[in-house]
Subunit: 145 residues, 2 copies
DNA sequence: TTAATCTCTATTGACTCGATAGGAATTATG
DNA sequence: CATAATTCCTATCGAGTCAATAGAGATTAA
């Protein structure tokens, strides 16, 4: 399961992706639109900025904006930034590989092989799905309903 | 990530699947072979039994055995039994669906659509991979290395 | 100079996680 | 029947994580 924090991050980023234009958006406004507790959102945005997903302007009339094109921000990027690796075990993580401390032989580990498949399947989806896609899909869906 | 508990469960079940025969295997022996702390394993096996994945015999010369054919025990079954739903959010879980408390409209939620795809992809893999497959693959691999 | 904004770190309470402990219930065996 | 071996069950522990709040510091526009 995603953490609440990660879900908040996704909501906030979609709000930012919909807020087109180059002018930054204030934390308070993002918080309201995305329905995220203001102070908690602050921490989240900070982390996303450190990961390069967001840029910020400080001081008066400051705020946040996307750090790159919504086409280049995938769900995988966001989830990894907040919750860490997508993999079900450290030994099958591409971004944070770590050998199992008690693993006898990685090559014959039956569990590892399966978790690897699972990781690839999830990563394929989450890396291909971007903020741009999410926004477009949302607009299409809201026209329909 | 899987919990340690879930990883232990997978190891223990593979040990049990390899221990052919109808006679039960004692907790202590499973613990040793699977390298799981004995008392912790006790709790794990208990949960797996309540889920129907294992059967047990009590008293002297008691022990644990698989509750059904290794072909019918999937990784998904095991992980769900110990860690809960595979889904990344309650609103996309098949086995434990729960509406997002603050969701405005599920039909237009861009996040939900993506998480649904991710869930399906993982579930497809984990439901198709069984204990029987894992054991077979392990034997093949150990002959090769 | 001031007000508005982001930045950073600490703190809190509730909960989860991994692990251990110990007694109750059950069963085989001599 | 008595005993030993085993699973069953629940409680407990310390460490860590999670969601959220707080507040002082740094930066900038007006």
């Amino acid at each position: 399961m995603l953490s609440q924090k990660a879900r908040y991050a996704l909501h906030a980023l979609i709000v930012l992706a919909e807020h087109d234009g180059d002018e930054p958006m204030m934390i308070a406004d993002i918080a309201e639109e995305a329905r995220v507790p203001r102070k908690f959102l602050e921490q989240i945005l900070l982390e996303l900025r450190k990961r390069g997903i967001l840029r910020s302007l400080r001081g008066r009339s400051g705020g946040y904006m996307l750090g790159k094109s919504p086409r280049d921000i995938s769900f995988a990027d966001i989830i990894r930034a907040i919750d860490g690796p997508l993999a079900l075990a450290p030994c099958v993580s591409v971004t944070a590989y770590q050998r199992c401390e008690d693993c006898v032989d990685e090559n014959t580990c039956a569990i590892r092989k399966v978790l690897m498949l699972a990781r690839d399947a999830t990563a394929d989806i989450l890396e291909s799905q971007t903020l741009a896609g999410a926004v477009a899909r949302r607009h299409r869906a809201s026209r329909k309903h």
